[in-house]
């Protein structure tokens, strides 16, 4: 064989093998998929209750599918690979030229010998053709010539079928799997033999239980499967497949639902008319199983005789007592079992429990003791609702039931009920549980009862709310303590202001800041609660403000320190190192000062809050003790009544009252024990501890009362109660002493506060008086000046032009501003603007003041530009001309400003030359007086500082305002000393303004402190009046709000008059530039 021949043969052989594989795999795969589908279908059918033969059908179908696939594969193989020619066709199916060459080569090779022998064709030509063909055949890619696509497609098909299997088995779970197993492997040995039906179609008649009020239902032509509620009587009619003498139904009931196994006579089974049908009981049925206990879980059988008519017509009846199945059993005349039908399922349609829910109010609501709460409910049942009841569960005593709707069966109902709380006699803080119960009318299994979730009404308790608020305050207090501890700990190992430790300090700073937020939040929460102690809220706010101010300083300074430290690290030159060291030193001092101040603030705050919290808790405790005393008196009255008219109910009431008191005493003792831990040394002393010990007797005393009452010894019980009374009085008085103690301390502070207030009032009055006296002299001075100014209009016009020009100079110099000169450019422009405006308005006082500022600023600006121009700082070449121009223009502005100043000075002669000697003397006295007032303000400042240290009750800005006022007082004294009533009076105004703001701040703080309830707060005597609320959202529902009427937009007449009058008087001096600017802005 030539090489070409062998290549062609190899190609064909390979093609044959490949094609055979593809064909077999694809065809058999399709067959397998079909088979699996048939098996699954069979399993589903079996699961759905189909008879066993369905297995054979499924298996047969699956087998047939496989056989068909095999046949199909054989046919294809024969067709495609049946000889070299067919193979060649198949291989070259996609290339007609090759197909032809290959096919001809195969044929020529087969005939080669014949050709050679006959000689009708050239053998060499044949070989050459074969050689060419072989050459092409070598290039054939079998993967392309015979693609495996059918195999892949079959694989996908199989995968899809497998997926369907998985889904079906997952959905059908165990039973479907079991059915599948049954299809594939058949029933396991010992499985019951599934019998064929022995009756025709069955007519079923459902007679539903009476409570359901449903019509009878007849179903004809059924397979006999029963689906009915429990208690339904099922009537059957059918025809036997053979002639029988007697017949019966065997009913197998699953689980404990069935009553003990019995044979129910047909007469009973079918009701009154059954007897006439002639069916008899089959009490002696041999297959009847022995009676089993009702609770046994396995199926139990009951048999019901069927009435047989005409040898084959059957009728009967059985009640549905539970899920299970039934089967027909036929007997011959001798009672021999002829046939037994397959089990027919009995499915019990469940009678669902009713559903009921409360739709209003919320799960737990807090209500006032006298509230009427509107309840809303909904209930539903699948058959019919019975009674719906509201069940109340008070904390003590028995459950109470209120019928919301009677037993009137409808499927759905809803309604509301106004529940009055007061008659229930609940105490503050007690919870009433309530729920709605609904029952259905099931008379077969007994009514099913459902209940809504239990919801609660809680009686509002101010004490409890207060306690919660106190707990909240305590929580933030603890946070504050912890943070103070962190700050202290921070500096224990050394200064926290060395570079490696600064980040740690910054972390603590951040936490401190967070603490202030929490303090504020707690204060807001406490304010929002109407029982929240307002003085505590105020205290928390004060503390938050103080600490906030301190921590912001510290954070800022520490940031600067860190920056300085980094700069110091990076400094290379000697000069910069020195500067950096100085910067570090300055920043360190600032941080240390800030830390110390903040630490002091936090320390004071901790002590202050502790005192307030202790006091408030002691007061609450006292209140509780007093409540207990009241209850004791009520108990005594009840005893008295009981003694006069003993009854079992009265005794019960007495014991219930004692029980309530014991609960309260336990609560009191528990809280006292908690408090005794929390009280600080100076507040809680041995009296409280001793009282705590004494109070332990209370429970014993109540036990004694209870025991004697139970024994019927009313006299003994009353005596024991008397003894208890004295123990309780002792306790109350001890607690009262404890609660009062902080007040005693506060009283001393109050005294100092009052003295401070008095001092402040005196200072204000003194300042007012000094101002009034100064005003008289100033008025005279102004009058005289005005006279002098009448002839100065021309001069003023000229000065205005000069000012305008100077401002222009400065404005135009602006492009040459350097970094150094920028601030003075700002100041110069502003002062010159003010000067220009003041001169335009002929406000000479303002002009005088403005020109002084302008002169200073322009001089400094000029100096800066000189320095910059001298080359002390590097200036970009391009900027230099602008700088020179700026220097020139500012240089031009300078003499203008000087001229204005000189001119104004002349217009404003020295007050000494205007005022009389007496007036000057008077100004001298006023200066002294003003000096004294300044000293008084200084003393007041010291007092404020001292008081602030004892309690952070003052608003944070107070110290600053007082200082500001004091500064103006000093300035006023100085101006008056210079015999300048104009400026002296101005400073007095400013002093009074600062003083007034200071006072207002105190009054606002006082108002905020008011309304703290019974406890009262820290002594703070600055309140103006009572009843003024704060707009911070504190319990808005309780604030009276006036709804504005249609006229509300109108400004009150008197106010308008005041405004008009004020307008006539002109603008106050120090506001004139602002007013002028305002109008200028308006007209722009």
């Amino acid at each position: 064989m030539t090489r070409a021949q062998s290549d062609i043969a190899r190609l064909l052989g390979s093609a044959r093998r490949r094609q055979a594989g593809i064909t077999l795999l694809s065809r058999l795969g399709v067959g397998l998929a079909a088979a699996l589908v048939f098996l699954l279908a069979g399993a589903i059918a079996l699961r759905a209750g189909a008879r066993l033969p369905v297995r054979w059908v499924a298996l047969g179908a699956a087998g047939a599918a496989l056989l068909a696939a095999v046949g199909w594969a054989i046919r294809d193989l024969a067709r495609r690979l049946g000889g070299d020619g067919a193979t060649a066709r198949t291989v070259a199916a996609g290339d007609p030229a090759l197909r032809s060459a290959l096919q001809s080569s195969v044929e020529l090779l087969r005939e080669r010998d014949a050709i050679a022998s006959k000689g009708h064709l050239s053998v060499a030509l044949v070989d050459a053709h074969v050689e060419r063909t072989a050459e092409r055949a070598r290039t054939v890619d079998l993967a392309r010539a015979l693609p495996s696509k059918p195999v892949l497609q079959t694989g996908w098909l199989l995968l899809a079928v497998a997926g369907v299997h998985l889904l079906a088995l997952a959905a059908g779970r165990g039973p479907l799997l079991a059915a599948y197993r049954r299809v594939v492997a058949g029933d396991p040995p010992g499985s019951p033999i599934m019998r064929d039906p022995i009756t025709g179609d069955i007519e079923l008649t459902y007679r539903y239980p009476a409570y359901m009020r449903r019509e009878n239902r007849v179903l004809s032509g059924t397979g006999g499967e029963v689906r009915a509620p429990k208690g339904t009587d099922v009537g059957l009619r059918t025809r036997a497949d053979r002639v029988v003498a007697t017949a019966e139904l065997q009913v197998d009931v699953e689980e404990a639902a069935a009553p003990p196994s019995t044979t129910v006579p047909a007469s009973q089974a079918e009701g009154a008319g059954a007897q006439s049908m002639g069916a008899g009981p089959d009490a002696a049925a041999p297959s009847s199983p022995p009676a089993a206990p009702a609770a046994a879980p396995r199926p139990r059988s009951q048999r019901y005789a069927l009435r047989v008519t005409g040898g084959r017509d059957l009728a009967g009846q059985f009640p549905v007592t539970g899920p299970g199945s039934y089967r027909f059993r036929f007997f011959d005349a001798k009672g021999k079992l002829l046939a037994e039908g397959p089990p027919i399922p009995i499915v019990v349609e469940p009678d669902a429990y009713p559903t009921v829910r409360l739709t209003a109010p919320e799960r737990e609501v807090e209500v006032e003791p006298g509230a009427v709460v509107q309840l809303a409910w909904e209930a539903e049942d699948d058959v019919g609702l019975g009674e719906v009841t509201l069940v109340l569960e008070p904390p003590q005593g028995e459950q109470k039931r209120i019928t919301l709707r009677p037993d009137d069966p409808i499927r759905r109902a809803s309604g509301g009920h106004p529940l009055a709380v007061e008659p229930l006699g609940l105490g503050e803080g007690e919870r009433l549980g309530y729920r709605v119960e609904a029952r259905d009318g099931d008379t077969v299994s007994g009514p099913k009862v459902s209940s809504s979730e239990t919801q609660f009404l809680k009686i509002y308790s101010a004490a409890e709310h207060r306690r919660q608020m106190l707990d909240k305050a305590k929580e933030v207090y603890e946070e504050l303590v912890g943070n103070l501890g962190d700050r202290l700990d921070l500096r224990a190992p050394g200064s926290p202001n060395v570079e490696p430790r600064v980040p740690a300090a910054q972390q603590v700073d951040a936490r401190t800041k967070a603490v202030t937020e929490h303090l504020r939040q707690a204060a807001r929460d406490i304010r929002r609660d109407r029982a929240g102690p307002k003085e505590i809220a105020q205290a928390l706010e004060n503390v938050a403000q103080d600490v906030r101010r301190g921590i912001e300083d510290v954070i800022a300074h520490r940031g600067q320190l860190l920056y300085a430290l980094k700069a110091a690290r990076g400094a290379v030159a000697d000069l910069s190192r020195r500067q950096a060291r100085e910067a570090v030193s300055i920043a360190t001092s600032a941080v240390e000062r800030g830390d110390a101040t903040l630490e002091g603030t936090m320390e004071r705050s901790v002590l202050y809050l502790e005192q307030l919290l202790d006091k408030r808790r002691a007061e609450d405790l006292l209140k509780l003790a007093k409540d207990l005393g009241k209850k004791r008196r009520e108990l005594a009255e009840l005893m008295e009544k009981y003694r006069n008219a003993p009854s079992e109910q009265a005794k019960k009431d007495l014991l219930a009252q004692v029980g309530r008191m014991k609960e309260q005493v336990r609560d009191l003792l528990r809280r006292m024990a908690e408090l005794s831990k929390g009280f600080n040394d100076e507040h809680m002393n041995e009296e409280a501890l001793a009282e705590l010990a004494k109070s332990q007797d209370l429970l014993g005393g109540l036990d004694d009362v209870e025991r004697k009452l139970a024994q019927g010894d009313i006299e003994g019980a009353m005596k024991a109660l008397d003894q208890l009374a004295s123990a309780m009085d002792r306790m109350a008085s001890g607690l009262s002493r404890t609660a009062r103690m902080p007040d005693e301390r506060a009283a001393a502070l109050m005294k100092e506060m009052l003295a401070f207030k008095e001092q402040l009032e005196k200072l204000e009055a003194g300042q007012k008086d000094a101002a009034a006296q100064t005003e008289k002299i100033r008025a005279e001075y102004r009058r005289r000046i005005q006279e002098q100014l009448r002839n100065a209009e021309e001069t003023l016009k000229k000065l205005h032009e000069l000012a305008k020009s100077a401002r222009k100079d400065v404005d135009e110099a602006r492009p040459g501003a350097t970094f150094r000169s920028e601030p003075n450019f700002e100041a110069s422009a502003e002062a010159l603007g003010d000067l220009e405006r003041a001169l335009a308005m002929r406000e000479l006082d303002g002009a005088n003041e403005a020109v002084r500022r302008a002169q200073l600023a322009v001089d400094m600006l000029s100096r800066d530009l000189e320095l910059d121009s001298a080359g002390l700082i590097p200036v970009e070449p391009l900027q230099r001309p602008q700088l020179e121009e700026a220097r020139r223009r500012v240089g031009e502005a300078q003499p203008k400003v000087n001229e204005i100043k000189d001119a104004l000075s002349k217009l404003f002669p020295d007050p000494r030359s205007v005022l009389s000697k007496e007036e000057q003397q008077r100004l001298g006295e006023l200066s002294r007086r003003q000096g004294e007032l300044e000293q008084e303000a200084g003393r007041l400042q010291e007092a404020l500082d001292a008081l602030s240290k004892r309690a952070p009750v003052f608003p944070p800005q107070a110290q600053g305002q007082l200082g500001e006022s004091r500064g103006h007082m000093g300035q006023a004294a100085s101006e008056l000393g210079e015999r300048n009533p104009q400026r002296g009076r101005g400073e007095q105004d400013l002093a009074m303004d600062a003083l007034s703001r200071f006072r207002k701040g105190l009054e606002d703080a006082a108002k905020n402190m008011q309304g703290g309830g019974e406890g009262g707060g820290f002594p703070y005597p600055f309140a103006m009046g009572e009843g003024e609320g704060r707009g911070d959202g504190s319990d808005p529902s309780r604030e009276k709000v006036k709804i504005p009427g249609a006229e509300a937009h109108k400004v009150p007449e008197a106010f308008r008059k005041d405004l008009l009058e004020a307008m006539k008087q002109g603008t106050p001096e120090r506001y004139r530039p602002d007013v002028q600017r305002y109008y200028e802005e308006l007209v722009k």
């Binding site: 501890g485 202290l488 700990d489 002590l607 502790e610 040394d681 041995e686």
Partner: protein
């Protein structure tokens, strides 16, 4: 006075005495007189010839009962009282009944010169220290007064003020008001256990003080006036530990103030008992006054003056004359000098702050530790101290230390509660040197404050300075012997110092105080 008493006794017992033979009756009355003078030996000598007393007359039986009461044989005493009839002008039967009731379950411990009756249980820890102290005091008194009685002296330990009142004829209110913790009477010392007080008291000095009374009574035939009794007892109070510091800083300050304002306690006020003075402050003042009288005398004439003085009174000389003779100046002059001395004597360190209020554990009206904080006069310091407490309660020792330090820097080491807490926080925060410095300063002001001594001993033990640690523990034990830590520390120290028996005893005391061992 005594004669008047005996006359009254004779009258009131007349119905009883009517049945006794005249010589026996006189002897019995003499025996009673001897007992009133706290001289049971004399009484026994008188009554011994009349034995058996059960068969003697009622008067003899009564006197014999009183004798047995003075000999702490209470059951026999009660038998004799019962046999003698019901008249009872001095309350001996009642006292005997109370004494029997109180001491019926007491444990008896007999030492060379003392017999201690103590309640079962924790009070056992007092006994060795009490006996040691009294023996030392006996030796000191033998030298200081020139004589001590030969017989054994009974010491009864009582558990509360009520018992003390029942045994001593004082009323309970007086005991509480004046802070009386011990009485020497009826030929015995009655001492309140230190565990009856919140922080104990200087019980060993007190026992030495009361024993001094006992010796002095015998030495002077009970003829020394009350002021002299108390003055000498106060003078010798710390003699057992070789010291004579009769006034505390507080009482010295009180004295200076009272002398300036002429509000000294008069002799009339001092009678019948210092325990009857209206307040602890007046009582302290009275003690200081009389102690300084003795101090002045010793200063002027040397320690031998007290031997002379008590000897003269014992011989029957009037006390004014005896004082004059031993002082070498007239009584009037002595009184003037003494008064002047009271106003001029330099104040010891501590000054006014040292208000040593005795606080009864079961008396709610008395102060607790809280009041100690309140004694710090500087409000800011009190604030820092409170902050220290706040941090201490939260286990923040470093912060607590810083706050206590701030408070301490303002008021110094005068307030032991502050110093103690500061030192504790410093130790907990790892600053032991700082703690030791604080404690040293604090102990200079309050050498007897037990908590400071205990804390100091911890540090010293830590450093291995055993002898110093022992001294501090013993100092703490002198005030608050029921702190188990003291005994545990002593056990450790004594073992290290080679005192095996002492260490074992202290270990046992530790177990008793911690409830790990019960006494039979």
């Amino acid at each position: 006075m005594m004669r008047t008493m005996i006359a009254i006794l004779a009258l009131t017992l007349a119905p009883v005495a009517a049945h006794a033979a005249p010589d026996r009756e006189t002897t019995a009355l003499r025996a009673l007189e001897a007992l009133r003078a706290e001289d049971p030996d004399a009484a026994e000598a008188l009554l011994a010839p009349l034995a058996p007393w059960e068969k003697a007359g009622d008067m003899v039986r009564y006197a014999a009962g009183a004798l047995r009461f003075h000999q702490q044989r209470y059951t026999e005493a009660l038998e004799l009282f019962r046999a003698s009839g019901k008249r009872d002008p001095f309350g001996y039967p009642e006292l005997a009944r109370a004494a029997r009731e109180v001491t019926k379950d007491h444990v008896r411990f007999e030492a060379e010169h003392f017999v201690v009756f103590h309640p079962k249980g924790k009070d056992e820890v007092l006994v060795p220290y009490l006996v040691e102290t009294l023996e030392k005091q006996r030796a000191a008194l033998a030298q200081g007064l020139g004589w001590v009685p030969a017989g054994k002296v009974a010491v009864e330990i009582v558990v509360d003020a009520k018992q003390l009142a029942a045994l001593s004829t004082l009323d309970e209110e007086s005991v509480r008001t004046t802070g009386t913790v011990a009485v020497a009477k009826f030929n015995k010392l009655m001492i309140l256990t230190p565990r009856a007080l919140l922080k104990g008291y200087d019980w060993l000095d007190t026992a030495a003080h009361e024993y001094t009374h006992n010796v002095l009574t015998a030495r002077t035939g009970n003829r020394a006036p009350l002021w002299m009794q108390e003055g000498i007892a106060k003078w010798f109070e710390q003699a057992w530990r070789g010291k004579h510091e009769p006034v505390t800083p507080f009482s010295a300050a009180l004295l200076r103030e009272a002398a300036g304002q002429k509000k000294l306690v008069t002799f009339a006020e001092m009678h019948p008992s210092f325990a009857k003075l209206p307040t602890p402050e007046r009582a302290a003042l009275a003690y200081a006054q009389v102690a300084l009288a003795i101090e002045w005398l010793v200063k002027q004439r040397g320690p031998g003056a007290l031997v002379t003085l008590t000897g003269l009174i014992g011989e029957g000389k009037a006390w004014e004359a005896a004082v004059a003779e031993s002082a070498g100046v007239s009584w009037k002059r002595f009184q003037d000098d003494w008064t002047r001395y009271m106003g001029q004597r330099p104040l010891p360190k501590g000054g006014k702050h040292e208000l040593e209020k005795l606080r009864f554990k079961d008396d709610p009206k008395k102060g607790t530790q809280f009041a100690e904080w309140a004694e710090i006069p500087d409000e800011e310091s009190r604030g820092h101290a409170r902050l220290g407490e706040i941090f201490r309660e939260r286990g923040r020792w470093t912060s607590a230390r810083i706050e206590y330090a701030k408070a301490f820097s303002r008021v110094g080491a005068r307030f032991p509660i502050l110093s103690g807490r500061y030192a504790l926080a410093a130790v907990q925060a790892g600053a032991k040197q700082e703690a030791e410095k604080v404690l040293s300063e604090a102990l200079a002001w309050n050498p007897d404050y037990p908590a400071l001594n205990v804390q100091m001993s911890r540090l010293l033990l830590d450093r291995g300075n055993l002898a110093a640690a022992r001294d501090h523990l013993l100092a703490a034990n002198r005030v608050d012997p029921f702190d188990p830590e003291i005994h545990a520390g002593l056990a450790k120290v004594l073992a290290a110092l080679g005192d095996t028996a002492g260490a074992e005893r202290e270990r046992r005391f530790t177990r008793i105080l911690t409830g790990q061992e019960t006494t039979p």
